[in-house]
Subunit: 343 residues, 3 copies
Amino acid sequence: MGRATEHLAEHLGQGVGGLLNATFGNAAELIIALFALSKGLTGVVKASITGSIIGNILLVLGLSFLLGGVKYQKQEFNRTAASISATALTLAAIALIIPTIFHVVAAQVPVGLGGWTPAREQNLSLAIAIVLLVTYALTLVFTLVTHKSLFGNSHDAAKDAGKDVRKIETESDADESWSMTKSVSVLVGATVFVALVSEFLVGAVEGARETLGLTEVFVGVIIVAIIGNAAEHSSAILLALRNKMDVTIGIAVGSSLQVALLIAPILIFASYLFGRPMDLEFTLPEVIAVAAAILIVEQISGDGESNWVEGVQLLSVYAVLAILFYFLPDVHAAGASTAVPAH
Amino acid sequence: MGRATEHLAEHLGQGVGGLLNATFGNAAELIIALFALSKGLTGVVKASITGSIIGNILLVLGLSFLLGGVKYQKQEFNRTAASISATALTLAAIALIIPTIFHVVAAQVPVGLGGWTPAREQNLSLAIAIVLLVTYALTLVFTLVTHKSLFGNSHDAAKDAGKDVRKIETESDADESWSMTKSVSVLVGATVFVALVSEFLVGAVEGARETLGLTEVFVGVIIVAIIGNAAEHSSAILLALRNKMDVTIGIAVGSSLQVALLIAPILIFASYLFGRPMDLEFTLPEVIAVAAAILIVEQISGDGESNWVEGVQLLSVYAVLAILFYFLPDVHAAGASTAVPAH
Amino acid sequence: MGRATEHLAEHLGQGVGGLLNATFGNAAELIIALFALSKGLTGVVKASITGSIIGNILLVLGLSFLLGGVKYQKQEFNRTAASISATALTLAAIALIIPTIFHVVAAQVPVGLGGWTPAREQNLSLAIAIVLLVTYALTLVFTLVTHKSLFGNSHDAAKDAGKDVRKIETESDADESWSMTKSVSVLVGATVFVALVSEFLVGAVEGARETLGLTEVFVGVIIVAIIGNAAEHSSAILLALRNKMDVTIGIAVGSSLQVALLIAPILIFASYLFGRPMDLEFTLPEVIAVAAAILIVEQISGDGESNWVEGVQLLSVYAVLAILFYFLPDVHAAGASTAVPAH
């Protein structure tokens, strides 16, 4: 899929290519979520959004910093680029907290006076989804058009990184250029394949879950996220071992960012198409987990350098959050039921 | 008013002048708030404090970064000065959260054992107001006396900026120096004028509010703040277009800071004079809005440079918060009624 | 005690010496807490943990910045070292918030479906305590082994600071080297002495408390912390006056860090030995106080320089938090009773 996107990019230009790459890089997450959404499992969808955000910036980035830092005393990256991404994540965290705040406050007021109703929560979420999507689009313009030099300067990263990613994904690059048709076919084929594998994996995980006595929320936030982000894991860590920290951060933070600013809004819109409108109201532990993850990443990435203990710190926060979700009862089911009052 | 203050400064020295300028720059907000306070509308007063803080650092600063950033690839400002202000804002946010925490916790305890009462909330708020005021006074000493070079070094900002502001406010500066009497008269006259206009505007807004079906809290936090900060808006944006970012930040962040550390305490003290003691307990959405705004400004101003996408990020947070207040039922009325238990 | 540790370090090596110094530096806090723990006073223990964390980073560091900043226009310190510590504190804050979140969420679910029970809260706390301890151990490896140059580079601080601390602690250093036996004896003796003095002080404070009408939580969080950290206070301030900011920060932030990452986990483990398991669930005001303190320290230490107004800002936050705890009714007793349901 990575290569197909890349070849398509040759036809459509680097800007659109970057957009495509970003979009299809999270394809697995999106497809799993759309399946769950079509069945009305909004709790599972939200758990996977949470899990994907914290998994990328805590687990993937943490392992990268740790393993890269064991090899190198100190690793450097472009501070401005990292800071823009971290701020965008903060923005996303604020946006994802707002619907929960709305619920808490509006629930105290009678419906007749403007109190909480599912429809109002959905309208609020829809409006926020539009703001997030516009922000994401403008961030792409910034990254790909007006300030692209910022994201490709250090160590000639742009070119180098492209080569590295390609080398990692496949050592054989005999086919130099694909036709437009071939690219699109491979892309669609790969997407269908991922969809099937994802369905199978989710089914298998569900079976294992009951055997192991794990809760749905733990599986959704922790286990599924680890499986779903396997591609990001291996790429990011391998690049950290080659001291290409800008690309590592681009993958880990960029992926979280995309889930928050692109995938989440798309899922909201899709939920309307499916006739089962979803809102953006997360449970308290999810909100805290996302806020904590973003806070610590912001601090760690602020100085433009990393070392192994920073990796340990990210992993510690991940461990603490995993412990919380392990001990938590299945509140997500409860959360989902308040969002869709069936009785 | 700006010019009157400036001329008065010539008589009293730059230090006192700066204090005066800061004080009278927020005169409109203060006067609107005092009117509302005298009528016992503490909910409206708090909404205007919230609105003024988030309006200045999200809307004014966001538009300045965006428009300045469209013209310049990158704009720089004094990191240390911006950081001192951002930290002072964080301090203010913490101080404004405390009374709400106190209410939540103390309300669970019977009054006989030290539980929540309006009087205790007011005493707590009064003590915090004194801390804020002392901090503000010491910050002025830092800015105007011990470290004034810090706030006027980059690009000879001090002198330049003064000139720029004057040029913006009026292109005709025939009258080079006013007498002390004239300055004071103009100042008092302008203040009375602002008071009348504000009263009129607030009345007009109230009429429009009912026609448009907007809630009081949305009007208080969003609409009134935009009107009340119009002066800051135009000055800050024009200076950003001239690449005088230090002054832009001084106006936007400084104005928020003053509302939190000076205006809010003054209003608490004034409420005792009016015999209708106000506390500093804000509603949950207000607390979250202020905390979110300050968090994102802190991140964005931390690196001493700005670009257009940072403007977009600030405006996005403002949009998300505006959406929250648009959908919120009129909880402020409810909040005020819990603070003043009528039954 | 300081000198005994130092001499012991000569026998066991600098690495172990640092560990010992850190461990015994907080001996008073640990001993007070163990006494309280053995009596089942978990509320008092938690209050002293909270008080020690916020006291060190707000009061000690604030006074150091203020007094050092009055003498020097600007003081500099190693940004990377300060940033690692601040991030570790953030991690600790997140870890200490999690048990409270767990309680809030799990309490809404029936026990049969995985709802809140004291045993589950204790297991969660035990798991988090292990993560904190492992993180602390790895941070020590980072500080003392792999990146020790980072913590001793600026102004040859390592050697200098050692000398300074020794000079402060005692002006007479006739005895150049002690035997292993003597070191251990002095250490044990001093520890017993501290234990007795602490017991006496806590008793005296309790008497004074009732006379003055102060609440237990105010005494626990504010008064005991000031007495218990007296050693850190004097050393940190004296070093700030000599412009040795790296050591000042090492003492103040390092001490807070150790309380959160080492003392708190040890107390959890000890509580099991005593047969009265303690959890890590803090009251809401404690969680907010720790989070606020860490947030503001993170901001202030982020730029690697300090001045007197930053000291004022830290002290203002301390004052605001002290005001909160002064007005708060004794909720800690209530909090402790929910954690140990006796009826």
